[in-house]
């Protein structure tokens, strides 16, 4: 694999074009598979096409989508995976609960929660940069430590019923859950920023080739801090959506989200090897993955089967990703 990577470092013009096309190819494939799933379910059970289904899918999309942006930024910058997202999400959600219990206005609750997520990302980044350790292991350890500490602090928490954040989690806007719209806005915004601003391109450059990026005068340390703090901010924002809509949660409540998020990032074509990916594709991959559980219920399959499908899809997706990189490198 290191052979592939070594060759990755000198992409030819043709390869770049291929990557660009493959970005849209990924999108078309995802869209086709998603539509196929919807059509098949609707054909089997016409009552699939209800507003209720749309609401269920959109709810699932919201939290996974926002966290996937954070995960995508980390992956894109060459940080591989942030395994500490569950701990960050629960920590921020707990802050959201405590802040809303004091009766602070909603805006301040949001600010406080997002800041908590950014601090969490900053802690990770500090360890990674100062100790020069690999993010995967650091975030594995901080997730261990964070979740265990959270278990010591609380067992069950919920935002106060009737508070602004509680109402936000249950409100609808234009036929979709209110929490879905910020997700859409953030994915579109980040996709645009990553592509057309200097900072976005720096992140991608560092992820693609650290040495070349450093030689071009991009500070690796600053980029690493920036990406992890930004990723933490998205986890913090996801915590608002999570705390507002999830009902009572415990420190283990976010563990099942982790895999969905990683799968969404890989399916969207944001390579875990860094340096490539179109964030807009997250809308399709998250939408597709969020439709699976609802579809399976309509097919009369237990909710346990959804994890089988998600796992199988992830294996196939990374196999295709690996194959593409290998072929592209030759």
């Amino acid at each position: 694999m290191s052979l592939d990577r070594a060759m990755d470092r000198t992409p030819s013009r043709a390869l770049l074009l291929g990557v660009r096309l493959h970005g849209w190819g990924t999108g078309l494939t995802l869209l086709a598979v998603w539509l196929l799933l919807i059509a098949a379910t609707g054909f089997y059970r016409p009552d699939f096409f209800t507003h209720q289904t749309v609401l269920a899918i959109a709810f699932t999309m919201s939290i996974v989508g926002v966290m996937a942006i954070g995960q995508g930024i980390v992956a894109n910058s060459g940080g591989f995976i942030d395994l500490s997202q569950p701990a960050g999400l629960i920590l921020s959600s707990l802050v959201a609960v405590r802040l809303s219990e004091t009766g602070l206005p909603f805006v301040l609750v949001v600010v406080g929660t997002v800041l908590t997520g950014m601090v969490w990302g900053g802690v990770n980044a500090t360890i990674i940069v100062l100790a020069k350790l690999n993010p995967v292991i650091v975030t594995l350890a901080t997730n261990f430590i964070g979740l265990a500490t959270l278990y010591l602090v609380f067992q069950l928490a919920q935002v106060p019923i009737g508070s602004a954040i509680y109402d936000f989690g249950r409100a609808n806007l234009l036929g979709l859950p209110a929490i879905w719209w910020p997700m859409l806005a953030l994915v579109l915004l980040v996709g645009l920023l990553m592509r057309s601003t200097r900072y976005g391109r720096r992140i991608t450059a560092v992820g693609g080739n650290r040495a070349a990026a450093a030689a071009r005068g991009i500070s690796l340390k600053k980029t690493r801090f920036g990406t992890f703090i930004a990723a933490g901010g998205f986890v913090g924002f996801a915590a608002i959506l999570f705390a507002s809509s999830a009902g009572p949660f415990n420190p283990g409540s976010a563990n099942t989200l982790q895999l969905n998020i990683i799968a969404a990032v890989i399916l969207a074509g944001i390579s875990l090897r860094g340096g490539q990916g179109n964030f807009w594709m997250l809308l399709l991959s998250v939408g597709f993955l969020s439709t699976i559980p609802t579809s399976l219920v309509f097919f009369g399959l237990s909710s346990d089967t959804q994890t089988i499908f998600q796992g199988a899809i992830l294996i196939i997706a990374v196999a295709i990703d690996g194959y593409r990189i290998r072929r592209g490198a030759r």
């Binding site: 694999m1 052979l3 995967v136 292991i137 265990a148 010591l152 895999l259 294996i315 990374v318 690996g322």
Partner: protein, 335 residues
């Protein structure tokens, strides 16, 4: 796996390795050996002489049998540079399948053999994705982890567990010799054999060569693909055995059996000197000591009435300390 971490680093890191005595005192086994002694001393101070009594060691031992065996086998996958995250779910599905076959009235040997064959089949899928297609090992085995957990839940059905108590097998697995669990002693033996294979045999050298620098290994005529495939199959096989033993210990298999085991095992193995991101480093002996040290810490907390959640905090801190130590010893620096 080298692709995430390793840039152009000479094989074997910067370790001053050619002096066996120095290696013995400064290598990764030495630091985990030291940690292990610290844990025992802490146990003696905090818990008292009871800590090293046969009764207490039996309690600890019974808990680490499965992690020790699973760790000894999956350590080869780490050495070959392909981390297998699916081991926890593999333990779960193996335990569920074995229980299921027993409830169907199959003889023990047939139930065990078919269970292990199915586990090898799943290991082969891992190998096809990772070695055949070049999928990233962490992501692919994460997918396998999810899929197998799903199948295990489906097998466990509405009761969330399969009850399959076989008197003979229960007796065998929970047998004691010299006041210690038989299978604990066997697990230690397996770890020692794994250590010998990894360090003293040609096979072990090939595995470590592939994990350390696959290009150099390929130039030396070692088939990288074959070694990695074998390592992934071995890892699945070890997890399969672990699942069968779990079933024997409990007399049942739950949908959640083995949940999160992969993180516990790998955290302990990394504390013991392995790396999940870089092949070729680590030693089954260090891995076993890492698992025993973590079991010791958790036993101390149990005996002193401290919340069990502190185990994970200590494991997390030890993990960070271990990888930092590894880096200072000449391992990969990130950036």
């Amino acid at each position: 796996m080298t692709d995430i971490a390793a840039d152009k680093r000479p094989a074997g890191g910067g370790v001053i390795a050619h002096h066996p005595l120095r290696e013995m005192l400064t290598g990764s086994v030495a630091s985990i050996g030291f940690t292990f002694i610290v844990v025992i001393v802490a146990g003696l101070l905090l818990v008292g002489p009871k800590f090293v009594s046969a009764g207490n060691i039996s309690i600890m031992g019974a808990f680490v049998i499965v992690p020790l065996i699973v760790g000894a086998f999956s350590g080869f996958a780490l050495l070959a540079g392909v981390v297998d995250l699916s081991i926890g779910s593999m333990v779960g599905i193996s335990s569920a399948l074995f229980a299921l076959f027993i409830t169907m009235g199959w003889p023990l040997w047939a139930a065990g053999a078919v269970t292990l064959l199915i586990c090898l089949g799943f290991g082969a899928i891992n190998a096809v994705a990772i070695v055949g297609f070049g999928a990233d090992a962490i992501a692919a085995t994460l997918g396998m982890l999810t899929a197998l957990r799903g199948i295990t839940w489906v097998l466990a059905g509405n009761e969330k567990a399969i009850f399959a108590f076989d008197m003979n097998f229960f007796g065998l697995v929970n047998q004691s010799v010299f006041g210690l669990p038989l299978f604990f002693l066997l697990a230690i033996l397996v770890s020692l054999i794994a250590a010998l294979v990894a360090t003293k045999t040609r096979v072990g050298r090939h595995v470590r060569a592939v994990g350390g620098d696959e290009l150099a290994a390929a130039r030396a005529g070692i088939s990288v693909k074959r070694v990695r495939t074998a390592a992934l199959l071995l890892s699945a096989f070890g997890a399969g055995i672990g699942g069968i033993i779990y079933e024997g210990q409990l007399g049942s298999a739950a949908g959640a059996t083995g949940f999160g085991l992969e993180f516990q095992v790998y955290a302990a193995l990394m504390i013991g000197g392995y790396s999940i991101l870089r092949g070729g480093v680590g030693n089954p002996l260090g891995g076993a000591l890492g698992l025993l040290a973590v079991a010791g810490v958790s036993n101390i907390l149990d005996n002193t009435g401290v919340s069990p959640y502190f185990v994970n905090i200590i494991v997390g801190l030890l993990l960070l300390a271990a990888v930092l130590l590894d880096r200072l010893r000449g391992g990969d620096a990130f950036e």
